[in-house]
Subunit: 326 residues, 2 copies
Amino acid sequence: MHIVITGGAGFLGSRLAHQLLKRGQLTGRDGRPQSIHRITLLDVVAAPGFDDARIDTVTGDIADAAVIERVIGEDTHTIFHLAAIVSSQAEADFELGMKINFDATRLILERARTLGTQPRVVFTSSVAVFGGELPARVPDHALLMPQSSYGAQKVMAELLINDYSRKGYIDGRALRMPTIAVRPDAPNKAASSFASGIIREPLNGQPSVCPVSPNTRMWLMSPRKAIDNLIHGHEINGVEFGAARFLSIDGLSITVSEMVAALEQVAGAGVIKLIEWKEDDAIKRIVNSWPGDFDAKRAKALGFTADSDFASIVQAHIEDEVKTSA
Amino acid sequence: MHIVITGGAGFLGSRLAHQLLKRGQLTGRDGRPQSIHRITLLDVVAAPGFDDARIDTVTGDIADAAVIERVIGEDTHTIFHLAAIVSSQAEADFELGMKINFDATRLILERARTLGTQPRVVFTSSVAVFGGELPARVPDHALLMPQSSYGAQKVMAELLINDYSRKGYIDGRALRMPTIAVRPDAPNKAASSFASGIIREPLNGQPSVCPVSPNTRMWLMSPRKAIDNLIHGHEINGVEFGAARFLSIDGLSITVSEMVAALEQVAGAGVIKLIEWKEDDAIKRIVNSWPGDFDAKRAKALGFTADSDFASIVQAHIEDEVKTSA
């Protein structure tokens, strides 16, 4: 089985690759486990830190049809399409957002359609597809009304994945991921970047700015859980998705002040003093347009799982990422 | 004021042009009436039947950027974007549907963005954006779950129009039109084509096949009302649309058997004998995925109006279109 991971050098893509190497197999077209013989990590930079003959690193632009043609072939069983321009950057650079978040997705789907091989495509969508007036706890059937270009591009990609699946060109699953925290990498241009920063930086003895109000409610998922759910999303029989190949994944609903309280509980009062509260209107506008709680009935019924509490997420982050000199 | 109508040679585009020539003005950027000095009718064939110096006929492919650049200029105040590949054809020819229903729409919006002139864009969307499990009477906030490529392409275009409007690149309005009947032109590849055919052909003494069950509930609008609502959709101040530039227009909810009863009431029992009932699974699958009734609260609040009854629509069709030898 050949697998392609776009955004393969990113933190989620790399973790997914490591987990797949460890598992060694995924469910194949016939519903039975198949060995993974090759994983292609496609990204703009080479994915570091792999020492496994099954890993194939390709650097290139995913919005370039020639790159996509080279990477996705007749033997490609599965594509985890994770590459994206994040929310604040897509808002600031409209053309780049359209090119990577929409056009590149379409190129991948078109490649699959042309090949006629109906690969499984697992796509990371986002809670940013929602917006406008919504109940505090968002149901599965809530109207999609993105209030950012990033959200609009994600919905459009979901619609393509749904239609390409309905037509039998791919076997797609668009999973609306909660904000992933705690991310180990450097702050990025995601409006949600602070949700990791206010935990990660203080744990490393660094200051961090929180640009939203303490009572902002977030919909979160740990990196470990995100990888589990991406793989689970792959393993489900496509038929179980019914009429819609897009899905809000279950997550943890928590306010920023509750996150900080969990950090204090795990790491002590000194650590949280490194958080500076300084609201940023541009970030608040985007983050506040995202729902902070979902009634993810479909995801639960399909076997997706959420983190139980934030203190455990902080603890797992320390275990996985915080380098101690002890 | 310069206006562009795509699909300008079509029945709706031509009627709209005639109505605009008659009105002579539309609301301008400053909220005040402005004279229409030029209307460009863009279509793959030349629009026939115009004898007015203000009409400018352009034949060309709307999916060709050079054509769009030539037609939409700095002086273009308004674009009525009506051109589309209809539902059954977009389902049969996926590439053509994507090219015309999505890519051409994007070309038009990109042209506007590049010019920086923020034109008004009135786009005809469709009830085909809906699908899946829905209440019998669909509310404004119902989830969009298209069950056809045509519907998916229309939602994607709506999302673009919404995002381009939010960003200030255009002043857009995506109006989800009911099925328009009675259309005067020849049957086409719209799955809803029969809704006109079973009225038009019998009135002309010709047989017509009804491919759906008599109890199929349709959401209809007469051509006259459609033109009124397209112009009304243009005249509204964009701010009144709030967070969503897409809108389900109010229509007439009626079953096919009620339509036939209205035809009999207007034209007599002999006429309806020309209808042959012969169900077609492919057409039924698409038509039955569309809702037959809406609670179009937003449209009503914004001043859009619906036809009151189908007998009046049949009567108006006879007045406007049926050539009598008397």
